[in-house]
């Protein structure tokens, strides 16, 4: 079991260091020895409610078998009653990742976008973005979206940067009815703005493109169908480009695939937000199946090890690309990561909207 993978420090080192009791300071010292200058970024208490760092809390959740937010606060001596808006979502995330089958997701510990499976807007209305697997849609889906937009007087219909169609300005009371209508048309939605899998952008790939080298669209669809619904420390954007011309802009996504004649280059750690960061190369494989496995494995590694609200590029800066690559390259570790991802998905790969939606027959 990886104890503190997020800093690339081995289990043995940590266990030796923390054998005597409270560990934060000792871990910092070990890190100072191990990482040199990186100690400037040493963990502090995760918020004013506790002096424990994110890393300590996560380690203690594992080693002490803590399985609820109140248990964590009780056992680790939280200084506040009920935590705060900073630690509660982090604890909820750490618990659901650690105990996907036992832990009951705590809606009251979620930011509004995850709690309502949508994105709150400035006037308290919401946006709704139906999934189009890999960006591919159909005339029937376009009509269903058009119908929903008119039925609920949506003030703006807009194509999104994630290759989807957004309905903006939806009233909260309309959400369950709209979900039901879109479900009835065969679409799942929600999570378009979550700290979880967003969309998998694709280019048209070799099925249509004169320079495409692999079928990037179908790989993107396959990845999105496998990964949707999963919660991650922060938003997770994927892209699959059919050739190095990179029309899906895969190299500024959290995880990208760039197809080449010989197969698939998998890259991680890109961003195009406050800063622009180009991905770095993680692995290459001639096999689409292996490409999928690598992506699931690195996603699970990120889920299990990154600090809440760290994007992959930030986690990579702490954990080190070499350490990440070593986990993914080891066949047993990779297979175990994929298996744990699938166990979690057995709970979370489901349409939360369908649970909450109101049959449209009863509506309005």
């Amino acid at each position: 079991m990886e104890i503190c993978g997020c800093n690339g420090v081995s289990k043995g080192t940590i266990l030796d260091a923390v054998a005597g009791g409270t560990c934060t300071g000792l871990v910092q010292q070990v890190m100072a020895l191990t990482l040199g200058g990186a100690v400037a970024d040493a963990p502090a208490g995760m918020c004013k409610c506790t002096d424990h760092s994110h890393e300590d809390v996560r380690r203690l959740i594992r080693s002490m078998g803590l399985k609820s937010v109140p248990a964590v606060m009780q056992e680790l001596g939280w200084k506040s009653v009920g935590g705060c808006h900073s630690c509660r979502p982090a604890l909820n995330y750490y618990l659901l990742t650690e105990y996907p089958l036992e832990y009951q997701d705590d809606r009251q510990s979620r930011f509004v976008n995850e709690r309502n499976h949508t994105n709150i807007q400035k006037n308290g209305t919401y946006s709704v973005v139906a999934r189009m697997w890999g960006g591919v849609t159909t005339p029937a889906e376009l009509r269903a979206i058009a119908d929903a937009a008119e039925k609920y007087d949506v003030p703006m219909v807009k194509d999104t940067g994630g290759q989807r169609i957004g309905l903006l300005g939806v009233r909260k009371e309309d959400l369950p009815h709209m979900w039901a209508d879109l479900n009835a048309a065969g679409m799942v939605s929600g999570a378009a703005c979550s700290k979880g899998l967003r969309t998998v952008k694709t280019c048209v790939g070799k099925e249509f493109c004169r320079v495409g080298m692999q079928d990037s669209t179908s790989l993107g669809i396959r990845l999105e169908k496998r990964m949707w619904g999963s919660w991650t420390p922060h938003k997770l954007k994927l892209g699959v480009s059919g050739c190095p011309r990179n029309c899906a802009e895969a190299t500024c996504k959290d995880i990208g695939v760039v197809c080449v004649d010989s197969g698939y280059n998998i890259v991680i750690g890109g961003a195009a937000e406050m800063e622009v960061r180009e991905t770095e190369h993680l692995a290459s494989t001639p096999s689409e199946d292996e490409a999928v496995a690598i992506i699931l494995a690195v996603t699970q590694l990120y889920r299990e090890n990154a600090r809440y609200l760290d994007r992959i590029w930030k986690w990579m800066g702490k954990a080190g690309l070499d350490w990440i690559r070593a986990q993914i390259d080891d066949p047993a570790t990779r297979a175990a990561l994929v298996e744990r991802f699938e166990i979690s998905q057995s709970v979370y790969r489901r349409d939360a909207w369908a649970d909450l939606s109101t049959p449209s027959e009863t509506a309005r």
């Binding site: 009653v81 009920g82 808006h85």
Partner: protein, 111 residues
């Protein structure tokens, strides 16, 4: 003298959750803490109008979902560096029922 009116059951609100009540005076957000205290606030952050009923409840505070301003629900005052105050209303729990200041309730419907 404040007259209180029964607006619903405490069990209708999840712990650390909120429920919105529409009144003639605007939307009132009623919050329930982990230890079953109840607070009633205007559902409108004084900063940018965010719906506080969608915020995270912690202790006797609530965090606005739009920009993370934190309000003490006892006083309605913004905490930390932020300046502002959200209106609070008299509310009490009696026999598992939530009682709200009747002057707020001319027409009332649970949202």
């Amino acid at each position: 003298m404040t007259i209180f009116v029964d607006i619903g059951s405490l069990d209708d609100i999840p712990r650390q959750g909120a429920r919105l009540f529409k009144t003639a005076g605007g939307c009132v957000a009623v919050f329930r803490t982990m230890d079953d205290q109840v607070f009633a606030l205007e559902d409108r952050c004084p900063h940018k109008g965010g719906p506080l009923s969608e915020g995270i409840v912690h202790g006797t505070s609530v965090t606005c979902p739009l920009h993370n301003w934190v309000f003490d629900m006892n006083s309605g005052a913004a905490q930390g560096a932020d300046k502002g105050r959200v209106r609070t209303y008299p509310v009490r729990v009696q026999g598992g029922r939530i009682l709200l200041d009747a002057t707020l309730i001319r027409t009332r419907s649970a949202a």
